[in-house]
């Protein structure tokens, strides 16, 4: 017989976690993480727009903070790359310790390789 007043534990939304093929634990999208990512990504784009050196772009404090978010930032970075482009390959490489691009890939080819990697590993659709 159903009860009228379920306990707090029963109504609490479950935290959905699962592992992708690479073994990373994905947590249901977090609003705060996305908000923080958006602010940092916008700041990074604004403050590095005239820079032509990848090292200088990547060493920007906002970019480093995104890298510091670690694995939870992977889907956010991939979605940003998918939607707006940008020099996110360095961050993806450092966070994942992978590089799915062919050795002699140009930038567009490397971006495609990373987006395919993200799809294969269920980070993005």
């Amino acid at each position: 017989m159903p009860r009228d007043n379920p306990s707090v534990e029963e109504v609490k939304a479950p935290v959905v976690t699962f592992k992708d093929h690479a073994g990373y634990v994905l947590v249901e999208s977090d609003e705060e993480l996305e908000r923080k990512f958006r602010l940092l990504a916008d700041q990074w784009r604004r403050e590095t727009r005239y820079i032509s050196s990848l090292s200088k772009m990547s060493m920007h404090s906002a970019y480093q903070k995104i890298v510091g978010m670690g694995k939870p930032a992977i889907p956010l970075i991939l979605r940003e790359l998918q939607k707006s482009g940008g020099h996110w390959l360095w961050a993806l490489h450092v966070i994942t310790d992978e590089d799915p691009a062919p050795v002699d890939a140009d930038f567009d080819e490397a971006v495609s390789a990373w987006l395919n990697w993200g799809k294969r590993n269920h980070f993005i659709e």
Binding site: R49, Y50, G86, A101, V103, A105, A110
Partner: protein, 148 residues
């Protein structure tokens, strides 16, 4: 990006003619642009991430000597001024206060300079010093090669 915003960051543009010549793009960067390679972002990519181009034989460090070497292996040699010379193509490299390269631009046959501003637009400007600024510092050297 609005013209006013570019002029705010490069105030010398306000006193010369200049135009935006293409939209914002992640590639190329200014080095690729100056060497007429519109497909690649020329960078030593010191952490080894793929997708960036750096010519073989040039040390993988972003400094003035190595940027000069990149242009040398493409037929450029140092010259004394930025004046238009018939039959020659010129490039200029800018450095910040610490001597770190910030930008490269090339001179068109018309005498105008063409610059890709980082990952933003490319522009044409009449004077090489139009981009001297807090962002790009000053011109460090000019090089030239025979126009093909």
């Amino acid at each position: 990006m609005p013209r006013e915003e570019i002029e705010r960051d490069f105030p010398n543009l306000r006193t010369s003619q200049w135009t935006i010549t293409s939209p914002i793009a992640d590639i190329p960067n200014c080095i690729g642009w100056a060497l007429h390679d519109n497909k690649q972002f020329w960078d030593p990519s010191v952490v080894g991430v793929r997708g960036y181009y750096w010519p073989p034989g040039v040390p993988r460090v972003w400094n003035l000597n190595n940027i000069r070497r990149v242009f040398e292996i493409h037929g450029y040699e140092l010259c004394s001024d930025a004046e238009l010379e018939t039959g020659f193509e010129k490039i200029a490299v800018y450095v910040d206060e610490e001597g770190v390269p910030t930008h490269a631009t090339f001179q068109k046959e018309s005498g105008e300079w063409s610059s890709k501003l980082g990952v933003w637009e490319d522009i044409e400007h009449t004077r090489v010093d139009s981009l001297e600024s807090h962002a790009y510092g000053t011109v460090a050297f000019i090089m030239k090669r025979k126009r093909v």
